[in-house]
């Protein structure tokens, strides 16, 4: 008799994507349905929480059905149900949590609570098996963290932003440049057309720690544009974008490489929405090459960099082995964090 397949039905609804996936053995995607609300929120220039929650309710069972059908599995085949319970927007998280709880309860399946950021890291598992200890750079609209994983399912923040997240800085200077939300992709494109001529500050590079700061860069950018406005001068948008991105990418790369040198790691996972940034991928790849370190850069494919259920299923595979199960009182935890290194 062959071993029963391990199949996890995974839910993700932390922000503006409703996603449900079926994952086999933590690394095979049988289905990964993603319903994005981006067109809806573009109307408002950013995610409006109540609108997001309303869309999630309309999508949740529909996406679940599509995920099961595409995977060709039924409830009796499933091993467990997994769900993102934080961090994220509380009203949005609650829809995934509530639906996952009801479905797990109805079919007597264990429920695995997953930290959304762990999911982002485990998106890399679809590229290749992960080897520990491992270093991860998590960069998104809400996070900029260096995470050390000593073993599977163990996370420790060793570097963090002290103010704005990198993705957030992109969106904020995007407003100044008149780039519509979400601004990251367009600024990345503009940056590739321009030169780093403004020499914006590189925050905290001189400090020993592994922390980041993007608030000063944001202020310097805004001041530069406002001063030019006051004297009626128009600055080159491509060069502004290139200079901004050069600062962000340099700081991210420098601190990440510093961490990699301090730790005995052979894999670097870059994850989160900003992992899609071409400038960041290029610079990291070059820095690793120049360093001579035996460090394997793993960046998940674009579709798995954004929010999706598959990554939650991959992270749940580890928690299933550890038997990390939630009970019926599971709630959304919008401010959920990994522990900090003592």
């Amino acid at each position: 008799m062959s071993k029963k397949r391990e199949l996890i039905l995974a839910f993700e609804s932390s922000c503006d994507e409703t996603s449900v996936a079926v994952i086999e053995d933590g690394h095979r995607i049988l289905s990964n349905i993603i319903a994005t609300q981006i067109k809806s929120h573009q109307r408002f220039g950013g995610v409006v929480p109540e609108v997001a929650s309303r869309h999630h309710v309309e999508q949740i069972t529909f996406c679940t059905q599509a995920a099961l059908e595409e995977a060709g599995v039924t409830y009796t085949d499933l091993t467990a149900v997994a769900v993102t319970y934080g961090p994220g927007l509380v009203g949005a998280l609650l829809i995934g949590v509530t639906a996952a709880k009801a479905i797990a309860y109805a079919h007597h399946l264990p429920l695995i609570p997953i930290n959304h950021m762990a999911g982002h890291i485990y998106a890399a598992r679809f590229v290749k098996p992960l080897e520990y200890p491992l270093l991860a750079l998590l960069v998104s609209g809400g996070h900029t963290e260096l995470v050390l994983m000593a073993a599977a399912g163990e996370f420790e923040i060793i570097g963090d932003t002290r103010d704005d997240a990198a993705g957030e800085a992109y969106d904020k200077i995007g407003r100044v440049l008149g780039v519509p939300y979400p601004a990251g992709k367009e600024i990345d494109r503009l940056a590739h057309l321009g030169q780093d001529t403004f020499d914006f500050p590189r925050a905290m590079l001189k400090e020993e720690n592994l922390d980041f700061s993007f608030s000063g860069l944001k202020s310097a950018f805004i001041n530069t544009v406002h001063h030019a406005d006051q004297i009626g001068e128009t600055l080159n948008r491509e060069n502004l974008a290139a200079s901004f991105q050069a600062s962000v990418v340099e700081v991210l790369t420098e601190k990440t490489m510093r961490a990699a040198r301090q730790l005995d790691v052979h894999q670097l996972v870059v994850a989160g929405g900003v992992a899609a940034n071409q400038g960041l991928r290029e610079e990291l790849a070059e820095a690793i090459k120049a360093s001579g370190l035996d460090l394997d850069l793993i960046v998940p494919p674009l579709r798995l960099c954004g929010d999706n259920g598959a990554m939650i299923g991959a992270a749940a595979h580890i928690e299933l082995k550890k038997e990390t199960f939630a009970n019926l009182t599971l709630n959304a935890v919008p401010g959920l964090d990994f522990p900090y290194r003592a």
């Binding site: 069972t61 009203g91 109805a106 019926l328 599971l330």
Partner: protein, 241 residues
Amino acid sequence: MKLLAMDTSNQAVSVALLDDQQILGEMTVNIRQTHSQTLLPMVDQLLKQTQTAIETIDRFVVAEGPGSYTGLRIAVTTAKSFAWTLNKPLVGISSLALLAANIVDTTALIVPLFDARRANVFTGVYQWQSGSLQTVVADQHVSIETLLARLQLLAEPVYFVGNDVAHFKEELQAALGSNAHFVGANHNLPHASVLGKLGLLAEPVADIHRFGPVYLRKTEAEVNWAKTHDERGTESYVEQV
């Protein structure tokens, strides 16, 4: 027919299990709490106490709104997920009707209301006609001032129902005088058994996937956006990628 009914539209959570007209069990908790943490444990306890397997439920009934948006979505998402995943019918009942149905033995007008803040209420007008609860004025989001003006025109006795009635008691009394009637604490609280009875008779929803709360209000973001944009002809705002 076994029926599981649940309501989380406002502060209280109420769940009930019925076998046709017979109430097998009911549980109501009325404290300030997170419905996400209380609803499913209450359902579980009710089913265990009544020795009922969830698979044997024939129909799920939920208070569909109006109410507090986040709270409302907990019972709606739970009931919707149960009905869909167990392949059973789902019935949505107005959260206001469920309160109105607390008042029996009268043919006077019944006005349930929820405080919607900034001097607005969610309300409707109900009446028992030949043994069934009828909607006289559809549920709506309206200013308390407008509601009072309309009720004054009717010049009929009115029963106000709901825990939030207390917020407006003086205004209601001043406007309607002796036509304003108030009810006791037990009648101001939602009871899922009452919801279940309404749900026995109602038509199940045609498409469970599309079922969602009846908010009775667009979000402010959408209202403001619509003022300056033409929404006709736009494709869906949510798409699978």
